[in-house]
């Protein structure tokens, strides 16, 4: 009985995976022909060193676009990214400004970084872009071309590139399969607003109408919230098919685990009951369950191997669609899928997460619970623990 249920789930999972690839194909075939090219302020919040940071930042200075400015926003000069920002500014003084803001007006560190930069930005259109993103010369032109009167927010697809270490290879595999496919599926078939913080273009007018930074300052998944608020306001959230590159070269395994544990916790707090449908996008994990249900029989091995073959073929095809070759990484697909399946359970155990050197606890819709509350809870817990030990 259980075996049949699992086999049925595997079939559903493979069908969903097929439709996700279809969604990606549809997305990539879209074209936008707008010639509307308004001046844009690009705000790049920086904290710490990312792989390829210099080239990432410089790629924004080489845009084939008539009028734009770039603002690097940091907390203080002691941030290691400041040196790089300064070097880029010296190279492109007419384009780049650096704004430091050490104020504590938001619990979300990325938002906190951007408030002053936003106020100082010159143009009516602004683009928030993460520091770990590398783009081609046509990025801004193609992204802006998706803007229409009814569009509130434009976001982009992400692909992982340049993996050299095991952690980075796993990271890129996950970005180039689960993340990109799920994003396209939500956008094309479920028509759900799906905004990705790596790249978000908005009009200031629309942004302020939904509450501006005040609406997102204490939300960890500020990108999701912006998309949601725009959607509720009746403004479109458009997923551009221009793929920005997330350069991950030397990630450690623990960094990969940390990021996907954090993202899983965020998805759990955002999605609630919908989070339980996620394993359906991991057919390999479902097929591994047959081992336990069917006592490691030959049949369960056959099911697992067939699913593995199918999954590798799908991922291989996806990698060709997004022009990011798999190479030797193909061997890591089953490991990655099984690791991410285990990560899926973590949000049920803990809601604490670590991001760029800070520890957070999050509530519903990823509202950040301040650290002092966290420490007081910890103090009470420790006191109770000591009392019971005595």
């Amino acid at each position: 009985m259980f075996l049949w249920i699992i086999l049925a789930l595997i079939l559903v999972s493979i069908t969903i995976y097929f439709f996700q690839i279809l969604a990606l194909r549809k997305k990539l075939s879209e074209s936008y022909n707008s010639t509307f090219l308004p001046p844009v302020s690009i705000i790049k919040p920086l904290k710490g060193i990312d792989d390829n940071l210099f080239d990432n930042l410089e790629s924004f200075c080489k845009q084939d676009y008539p009028e734009y400015e770039i603002i690097f926003s940091l907390q203080d000069v002691n941030d290691p990214a400041y040196r790089i920002a300064e070097k880029i500014k010296n190279k492109y003084p007419h384009l780049v400004r650096i704004i430091l803001d050490g104020s504590q007006r938001a619990l979300n560190p990325k938002v906190k970084n951007m408030i002053t930069a936003y106020r100082n930005s010159k143009y009516d259109y602004f683009l928030i872009s993460d520091s770990n993103v590398y783009v081609g010369k046509d990025y801004l032109r193609k992204t802006v071309s998706c803007m229409t009167e009814n569009t509130g927010l434009i976001t982009n697809l992400i692909v992982g590139v340049s993996g050299r270490s095991i952690g980075a290879k796993l990271e890129n595999l996950q970005l180039n399969s689960f993340v990109i496919l799920a994003t396209c599926f939500l956008d094309k078939f479920l028509k759900m607003p799906c905004s990705i913080g790596k790249s978000m273009l908005m009009r200031k007018k629309d942004f302020e109408e939904i509450g501006g930074f005040d609406a997102i300052k204490d939300i960890l998944a500020e990108d999701y919230m912006l998309g949601k608020l725009m959607h509720e306001k009746g403004k479109g959230v458009v997923l551009s098919n221009y793929m920005v590159k997330n350069v991950n070269e030397y990630w450690s395994l623990s960094r990969f685990l940390n990021r996907h544990t954090r993202w899983a916790k965020i998805r759990w707090k955002i999605g609630g009951i919908k989070y339980f449908t996620e394993p359906l996008s991991n057919p390999l994990f479902l097929s591994s369950l047959t081992f336990f249900v069917d006592n490691f029989s030959i049949m369960s091995l056959k099911v697992f191997l067939m699913t593995l073959l199918l999954k590798i073929s799908f991922d291989f095809y996806t990698s060709r669609l997004i022009k990011s070759p798999l190479n030797i990484s193909v061997l890591l697909i089953p490991i990655k899928d099984l690791i991410t399946a285990l990560i899926w359970f973590v949000p049920f155990i803990s809601c604490r997460l670590s991001w760029r050197g800070n520890i957070y606890k999050i509530g519903k819709d990823t509202i950040i619970i301040p650290n002092n509350n966290l420490s007081s809870v910890r103090i009470i817990f420790n006191k109770l623990k000591t009392a019971f030990n005595h």
Partner: protein
Amino acid sequence: MLLCDFHIHTKYSDGSIELRKVVDIFGQAGFDVIAITDHVVNGDSLIGKFAHRFRFTITHKNFNEYMENIKYEAQRAWNKYEMLVIPGVEISKNYLSSEKSAHILILDIKDFIPACESYENIFLEAKKQDALIIACHPHHMRGEIRNTLYLWNNRDIYGKYIDAWEIANRDDVFNVVSLKKYPYIANSDFHKPRHLYSWKTLLNCEKDIISIKRCIKHNKGVAITLFRG
């Protein structure tokens, strides 16, 4: 202040990354000055013979190619990152006994210096080339079975030749260098990408080789920092 790392290995010896990529890792992280210092290992001991057998060393044969490639990368690094790349080697006198072993950084080297020469000859040759002499990891290191203690134990004899001592190497800090008030620098002893996050030197001087050497020798405007990305 210039962010510097003067102790970096590449695939020319026992580093895990090729020269070009190493230069890019430091350039992308915003460094101002780096020195490429692959090992030149003595061939007169068992460990040395092993290094020569498996090509974990710069030799007389490939030294010119090594220098040419560093020169090319230095030009590229300057144009792209405004980062100064200094050619150097780490003369590695390796023996089974920690008391007999020593490693010496020769920065701004011009000609090959064999590691099997006597200490005195190595120092005099380096001085002749107007290179900077740094005693590296001169004291006990955490978790290391084989240390390089010879120069520290014989500092009364060789101290006069040494321009600076490594006060910190990757995660280790040698407080004895501080107690003796010797000129100091701190380096990563970079072999793998994760070694980027380690002790570094900050120099308050102009970004040119003469000023940098003077700054280190005179030990004025030198600070160390734990680079954590």
